[in-house]
Symmetry: C2
Amino acid sequence: MGPAVGKPKSQSPGPNAVDRLSTLLAEDLAAVDALIHQHMASPVGVIPNLASYLIDAGGKRIRPLITLASARLLGGGGDAPRKLAAAVEFIHSATLLHDDVVDMSALRRGKASANLVWSNSASVLVGDFLFARSFNLMVETGDIQVLDILARAASIIAEGEVMQLAAANDADTTRERYMAIVEAKTAALFAAAAKAGAVAAGRPGVEAAALETFGRELGLAFQLVDDALDYGGLAATMGKNAGDDFRDGKITLPVVFARDAGDEGERAFWRRVMSGERTDDDFHRAVALLTRRNAIAQTFDAARAHAAAAATALTSLPANAYTEALAELTDFVVERAH
Amino acid sequence: MGPAVGKPKSQSPGPNAVDRLSTLLAEDLAAVDALIHQHMASPVGVIPNLASYLIDAGGKRIRPLITLASARLLGGGGDAPRKLAAAVEFIHSATLLHDDVVDMSALRRGKASANLVWSNSASVLVGDFLFARSFNLMVETGDIQVLDILARAASIIAEGEVMQLAAANDADTTRERYMAIVEAKTAALFAAAAKAGAVAAGRPGVEAAALETFGRELGLAFQLVDDALDYGGLAATMGKNAGDDFRDGKITLPVVFARDAGDEGERAFWRRVMSGERTDDDFHRAVALLTRRNAIAQTFDAARAHAAAAATALTSLPANAYTEALAELTDFVVERAH
């Protein structure tokens, strides 16, 4: 937290950018957590049990932090940003619960996923509950404009998830198509989270547009890094969930790069494994081909470009501690991988 | 459609009450259908395909009709009631898609259910899309009060679905607990559909309260009749979906009545079949026991009492063709079974 010296952002990318943002917004964040727990309450025990199993499992709360910071950097006060931040986390949580059902996931945030502990049915229905409660929270703000922003985002997210489902096992997925999926399934909520914060601060014009761009670009960067990490990142050290995308037949940007740069034999390999059965050996060959074609590094480059665009979008906004913390976040989403 | 003579409601309960309401609201209903198709549109082909497979399969549109009639009977004009009616149908459709995943249903509206034709994953995600789009439609009305009503209903529905899931295979489910499930999973949306219509007509006070009661009681009647029909109704002629509740281990009101009136052997039977495996022979024994204990007739009596309460709620409202058609609907939901 000392004075910035030299080129602090590139020298010290700050793996703690999320922590710094959390510290800066500690009071808000505590209020958001209280709202979350208050609104996931239900006499039907399964609901708070399953919801808190996911929500209290140590997610980083990046999306609600973006909403809060966006509102505060524009001088927005009051309770509305907190309610919107909680609503954004509920939408995100509902999406995670449904994603895990769709992907038949077994792990989430380092624990057995809720659909395994309870059931697919419970995950579907509790997801629906959280989604509905997110709208209850938005209604409490009385602000139809933020409802518009987040309701639109919610339908775009669902559209993105369906697009992804339709593209799974389609070995010919293009870069454009893949980026459209990422834009919808991930970036739309980041964009809406930031924009809603600005609107709640009473700044629906150029500031909201700048923050929307910030959110969208940050979301794109975030997802591309996730995709690279799913193949072990640059170090090729496998995280506990590595290989999920490969196993699910999801064609992500690293695969697009490696496939398009590959020779005929490599393209045949990608076509076979992405449209049919995949073995553990196939996964190791995939990682080797990604390395040979520099596909992970290229994916990081693409992520870095989006992170830079996110940082640029912030330059038109008031310079203060919140804006600075969001700028650090743009480094963090890329550098967290190293 | 001739002049009413004598006691038209009890003499001629009108299996065509829905048709009459549809005729009365033909212009509105056509506009609602246009809104529905407009808002289920998406460049992602699976979405309109799956959604229209369900929505165009010949549902009776009872819930949107209730919203439209509630608004019109109070003199409410304009587009808002149509948008809300479409939103209500979307919420209902999303619920059906998710229900069929939860229940692993194979049939819906006489066709293979969407989860069989596409997949559980597609049904979950398209349900999410329709749910989100329902909020887009509500936002278009610009009326935060109707958003409040329908968002609350949406979370209560999800709560009811989870309650039902938790109660499945619990042979000791009481009548009170069962009615709480019905209230949440079915009656809450009927109540909200009616209330939202009144609010859209600018009558949020006593008229909205009366219509909310009408909707709730009608919804309770509707669900109890459905429960009776799932055991073949009074005639014990099996509809194509009969036996679904039994197979799913759902303890509905007919079972509660038969179990509570049964002797020790009967109670042991219900305990065994509702908490464990169920055969076709078990189903036939169940129907026989329901008949012996008059449980279907008692369920119809309960439904009739709720339908009567719904009709009573209408008496405080302006008497006009819409109110009359809603009154006929209260007979129809019970008498459709005969």
